[in-house]
C-alpha cells in the first residue's frame, strides 16, 4: 500500500509541559487509522500539528514522501489535509451552503457572492454523502446529526487527501453513527486517508484498519485492528491492566425508594411508570431524543410536569422545582457537567456545598468549619484529586470534575440519585472509580437511576434495564436477560 503521510519524531512543548514527545504516525492511501488514548494523551495536539493549528517544535512531516512545513490551517487545507473538530464549528444562523463556503465565497462578475454556484457545489457534495439535507436549510433547524453531516460535507468540499475526524460520533445516535461509518468506508475506498480519533473502543474495532495508541504525549505503538484485542489496547492506553471494566457488586435489593406513576409531558413523555429500590441500579437505555434526559429532569423538577405522581419511600411528593426534589431526597447529575453541573469559576469547596449550603448555615451565615469538614470528607472518600478545596473546579480534569458533581449530591444525603451519562468524557481510570462510587452508594442504600448511551455500561452496571423509545418505556428487563441486541431492538421501537 502506498504511504500517504508519515510523521516522524514529532515533539511539541508548551510552557512547562511536553505535550508531544517524539511521536510517530503514518497513514496509507485509503486507510482508516484510529488514534486512541485517554484524555490528555496528546491525540488532539498531534492532529492540530498536522492540520496547522500548532507548529511542531521538532520532527518531520512527510506527505507522499516529500517533507513539508505546515504553518497554518489554510496551508494544511491547500496540502489536502481536512479536519473535523470535536465541537461543531458552524454558524447557526447561516444556511448549510453559506457555512460550507464561509471565507471563500466565489464571486460573480459584479462582485457579489455567486449564490447559484455555491448552491450547485454544495448540493453536489451533499449528494455524494447520500444525505438529503437541502443546501439552503438554516443550520439551527437541523439535528445535531445533520449538522455533523454538514461539517463533513464542508471538509469534503475542499477535496482533502487526508481527513481527520476528532470524536465525530460523540453527539450521534446509533443509526446516524452507522450512516457515518458507511460514508467513512466509502471515502476510504475512494482513496482518502482517514484519521479517526475516538475513545469508544467498540467503534474502533468496527471501523479501523490500524490503531495507534498514545499515552501522556508519547507514542506507545501501532497495531493492526484485526490482530488486536480489547484488553491489549486498554493496557497500551492505560499502561497497566484494568482488572475489571465494570466492578459491579450485586446485592439484595432493599425496599422501594422511588416510584413514578404515569409521568407525562406533552411531546416528551407519555405515561412513564417505574420503581427504584434502595441499593439498586436501574439503567435506562434508549436513543438520543427518546426522552431519557427529559424523564430525569421531570422527576427532579427541572422541567414542569403535565401529569403523574412521584413517590419517595412510599410517600407522595409534590415536586415543582429542584429545591422540592432535593427536600424529597432526589439528586440529579446532569449529562452536561460544564453547562449544568458545575460553576467552573468557583472552588471545589463552593461547588460541593452548593446544593446543601443550608445545612452549614446558622441564620444567614455560613459556618466555615462545618462546611470544610464535609468538603474534606467528600474529597477523601471520592478520592478527588485536587491541590486543595480552594482550587477552582475549571482546573481539574474531567474525571475529577465529575467527582465534584457527585460529591455535591452526596452532600445532600440523597435517597435516590439520578445519573445522566455519569462517565461521559472521563478517561478509563476515572470511569472505574465512578463505578466504584456507585457501588459504595448502593451499599449504603441509595437507589440509582443511570441513564447511559454506552450499552456495555448499562449492561455492566445495572440490576435492571429500562428501554425508552419516543417518551415511553418500551421494555423492562432484568440485567440477566438484557443483551445489546434486544436493547437496541426495543430502543428502535420494536416490540
Amino acid at each position: 500500500m502506498k504511504e500517504l503521510l508519515r510523521m516522524r519524531e514529532i515533539s511539541k512543548y508548551f510552557p512547562g509541559v511536553k505535550a508531544l514527545d517524539k511521536v510517530e504516525f503514518s497513514l496509507f492511501l485509503g486507510e482508516i487509522h484510529a488514534l486512541l488514548g485517554e484524555n490528555g494523551a496528546g491525540k488532539s495536539t498531534l492532529m492540530k500539528v498536522l492540520s496547522g493549528s500548532y507548529k511542531k517544535d521538532a520532527g518531520e512531516i512527510l506527505l507522499g514522501g516529500q517533507p513539508v512545513d505546515i504553518d497554518s490551517p489554510r496551508q494544511a487545507q491547500e496540502l489536502g489535509i481536512g479536519i473535523i473538530h470535536q465541537e461543531l464549528n458552524l454558524v447557526p444562523e447561516l444556511t448549510v451552503m453559506e457555512n460550507m463556503f464561509l471565507g471563500r465565497e466565489p464571486l460573480n462578475s459584479v462582485g457579489f457572492i455567486d449564490e447559484a454556484l455555491i448552491e450547485e457545489e454544495a448540493a453536489k457534495v451533499l449528494d455524494e454523502l447520500g444525505t438529503d439535507i437541502p443546501p439552503s436549510a438554516v443550520i439551527s433547524s437541523l439535528s445535531i446529526g445533520e449538522q455533523q453531516m454538514v461539517e463533513i460535507a464542508k471538509a469534503l468540499s475542499y477535496r482533502p487527501r487526508i481527513l481527520i475526524m476528532d470524536e465525530p460520533t460523540a453527539a450521534l445516535t446509533e443509526r446516524e453513527t452507522e450512516r457515518l461509518f458507511s460514508i467513512i468506508r466509502r471515502l476510504a475506498a475512494g482513496g482518502v486517508g482517514i484519521v479517526y480519533i475516538s475513545h469508544r473502543m467498540e467503534e474502533l474495532f468496527a471501523i479501523s484498519d490500524r490503531v495507534t495508541v498514545m499515552r501522556d504525549g508519547t507514542y506507545v505503538g501501532t497495531v493492526k485492528t484485526r490482530e488486536a484485542t480489547f484488553d491489549q489496547l486498554i493496557k497500551m492506553m492505560v499502561g497497566r491492566d484494568i482488572s475489571a471494566r465494570f466492578p459491579k457488586e450485586y446485592r439484595a435489593r432493599g425496599p422501594e425508594a422511588l416510584r413514578v406513576e404515569n409521568l407525562s409531558r406533552p411531546g416528551k413523555l407519555e405515561g412513564v411508570s417505574f420503581t427504584v429500590h434502595a441499593g439498586e441500579v436501574v439503567g435506562i437505555a434508549g436513543l438520543m431524543g427518546a426522552g431519557r434526559t427529559e424523564l430525569a429532569r421531570a422527576i427532579f423538577g427541572a422541567d414542569p410536569l403535565a401529569a403523574g405522581g412521584i413517590y419517595v419511600d412510599g410517600q407522595k411528593r409534590v415536586i415543582r422545582n429542584p429545591a422540592d426534589a432535593i427536600r424529597a431526597g432526589i439528586g440529579l447529575i446532569t449529562e452536561d457537567r460544564k453547562q449544568q453541573g458545575l460553576v467552573l469559576g468557583l472552588s471545589v469547596r463552593e461547588n460541593i456545598t452548593l446544593a446543601s449550603l443550608k445545612r452549614f448555615c446558622k441564620h444567614l451565615f455560613i459556618r466555615e468549619a462545618d462546611e470544610g469538614k464535609v468538603v474534606d470528607g467528600q474529597i477523601e472518600s471520592l478520592r478527588i484529586r485536587t491541590p486543595g478545596a480552594g482550587q477552582m473546579v475549571k482546573n481539574l480534569s474531567g474525571g475529577n470534575q465529575q467527582k465534584v458533581v457527585i460529591a455535591k449530591w452526596l452532600a445532600t444525603s440523597p435517597k435516590i440519585l439520578i445519573m445522566d451519562e455519569p462517565t461521559r468524557g472521563v478517561d478509563i481510570g476515572a470511569k472505574t472509580e465512578i463505578y466504584q462510587i456507585m457501588n459504595m452508594l448502593t451499599a449504603s442504600g441509595v437507589g440509582i437511576v443511570m441513564i447511559s448511551s454506552e450499552l456495555p455500561e448499562v449492561l455492566g452496571m445495572s440490576d435492571r434495564v429500562l428501554v425508552m423509545h419516543r417518551g415511553r418505556i418500551t421494555a423492562e428487563l432484568p440485567v440477566g436477560q438484557a443483551t445489546q441486541e434486544n436493547i437496541m431492538a426495543y430502543a428502535a421501537g420494536g416490540e
Partner: protein, 315 residues
C-alpha cells in the same frame, strides 16, 4: 513587572490597589496640595456617592446583570424625600420614602428581569427613562428646596471630624463585604454569575436571589440620592445623570468581570477611589474639565486592557 504580575495571583488581585497607590504617588509629586488631610477627606466624601451605588452595582454585575437605572433613581429618591420634607413631613417618614422608592423600583427591575425574562440591560434602561421622567413630573422640572436644617446632617455633617457620607459609605462596604464573603446569599450571587443553570439545578431559588440583588441596588441608589439632596440642600431633577456609568466604571476598574461570577466589593472601593483621585488630581493640576473626561476615559480603557492581558497570561 508585568511578568511577575502574571505569575502571582496575589499581585493580580492587588493590581487595582497598586494602580491607585501609583496614581497617588505621582499626584503627590506633581502637587503639594494633594497629600493633605483635608484634600484626602474631600476626595473620600466626593467618592462616597459613587461608591455606595457601586456596592449595589457590584452585586448586580456579579450575577452577570447590569443596572442602568441607578442614576435616575438617585434623582427620584432625592426629590421625593426633599419634597416630603419641604411639605412639612417628618424626617423619618421622608427618608424612608426616598429609600423605599429606590427599593421598589429595584423590585420592579428584578421582577421584569426574572419573570418576563427581559435582559437586564433593556429592563433597567426602560426604568432609567421612566424614573427620570417621573422625577421631572414630580418636581415640575424645578429644584426642590426649603428642607429643615437637620436634614443637612446626612450629606454635610461630621462625626469626629469625618464626613457623615464617608461613614455611611464605610458601613455599607463593611456590610457588603461580609455579605459576599460569609453568607449564603453572597455565595449564591457568585454561583448565579458563574453558571445560573447549574445553580438553579442545585435547588437554589435563583429568581428570588436576583430580585433581592436588584432591590438592594435600587435601595442603595435611593440612599445616595438622599445624601446628595442633603449635601446640596436641594433636590435637582437632573441629579445623578451618568451616575450609572461612573458606578459601572468603578466596578470594572476594581477587577469585577462584566460577564459575572468574578469580582470583589473591595475592588469596587478601590475603583471608585481611582476615579475620585483622578478627578481631584486633574483639578489640582488645573486641567480643564473637558480634558478631564478624556483622561478618565483613557484610564478606564487602559486599566481594563491591562486586566485582560493579565487574565490571559494567568489562564
Amino acid at each position: 513587572m508585568l511578568e511577575t504580575m502574571r505569575r502571582s495571583p496575589l499581585l493580580r488581585k492587588m493590581g487595582p490597589l497598586l494602580g491607585l497607590l501609583l496614581l497617588c504617588f505621582i499626584l503627590a509629586f506633581l502637587s503639594d496640595r494633594f497629600l493633605t488631610v483635608n484634600n484626602l477627606l474631600n476626595i473620600t466624601r466626593q467618592v462616597s456617592l459613587n461608591a455606595i451605588i457601586g456596592v449595589g452595582m457590584t452585586l448586580v454585575i456579579l450575577t452577570g446583570g447590569i443596572d442602568l437605572s441607578v442614576g435616575s433613581v438617585v434623582a427620584l429618591a432625592g426629590s421625593i424625600t426633599a419634597g416630603l420634607l419641604s411639605g412639612g413631613h417628618g424626617l423619618a417618614v421622608s427618608l424612608a420614602a426616598g429609600i423605599g422608592v429606590g427599593g421598589v423600583l429595584g423590585l420592579i427591575n428584578g421582577l421584569i428581569i426574572t419573570r418576563q425574562k427581559v435582559q437586564p440591560f433593556i429592563a433597567t434602561m426602560g426604568m432609567m427613562t421612566i424614573a427620570r421622567g417621573y422625577t421631572l413630573v414630580y418636581t415640575d422640572g424645578r429644584p426642590i428646596t426649603g428642607m429643615p436644617e437637620q436634614f443637612r446632617f446626612f450629606g454635610g455633617g461630621y462625626i469626629a471630624d469625618i464626613p457623615v457620607p464617608v461613614i455611611i459609605m464605610a458601613l455599607i462596604f463593611l456590610a457588603g463585604y461580609i455579605m459576599l464573603k460569609k453568607t449564603r446569599f453572597g455565595r449564591y450571587i457568585y454561583a448565579i454569575g458563574g453558571n445560573e443553570e447549574a445553580t438553579r439545578l442545585s435547588g437554589i431559588n435563583t429568581p428570588k436571589v436576583l430580585v433581592w440583588v436588584y432591590v438592594l441596588c435600587g435601595t442603595l441608589a435611593g440612599l445616595s440620592g438622599i445624601i446628595m439632596a442633603s449635601r446640596l440642600n436641594s433636590a435637582q431633577p437632573t441629579a445623578g445623570m451618568g451616575f450609572e456609568l461612573d458606578a459601572i466604571a468603578a466596578v470594572v476598574l476594581g477587577g469585577t468581570s462584566l460577564s459575572g461570577g468574578v469580582g470583589t466589593i473591595g475592588g469596587t472601593l478601590v475603583g471608585a477611589l481611582i476615579i475620585g483621585v483622578l478627578d481631584n488630581g486633574l483639578n489640582l493640576l488645573n486641567v480643564s474639565s473637558f480634558y478631564q473626561q478624556v483622561a478618565k476615559g483613557i484610564v478606564i480603557l487602559l486599566a481594563v486592557m491591562l486586566d485582560r492581558k493579565r487574565g490571559k497570561g494567568g489562564a
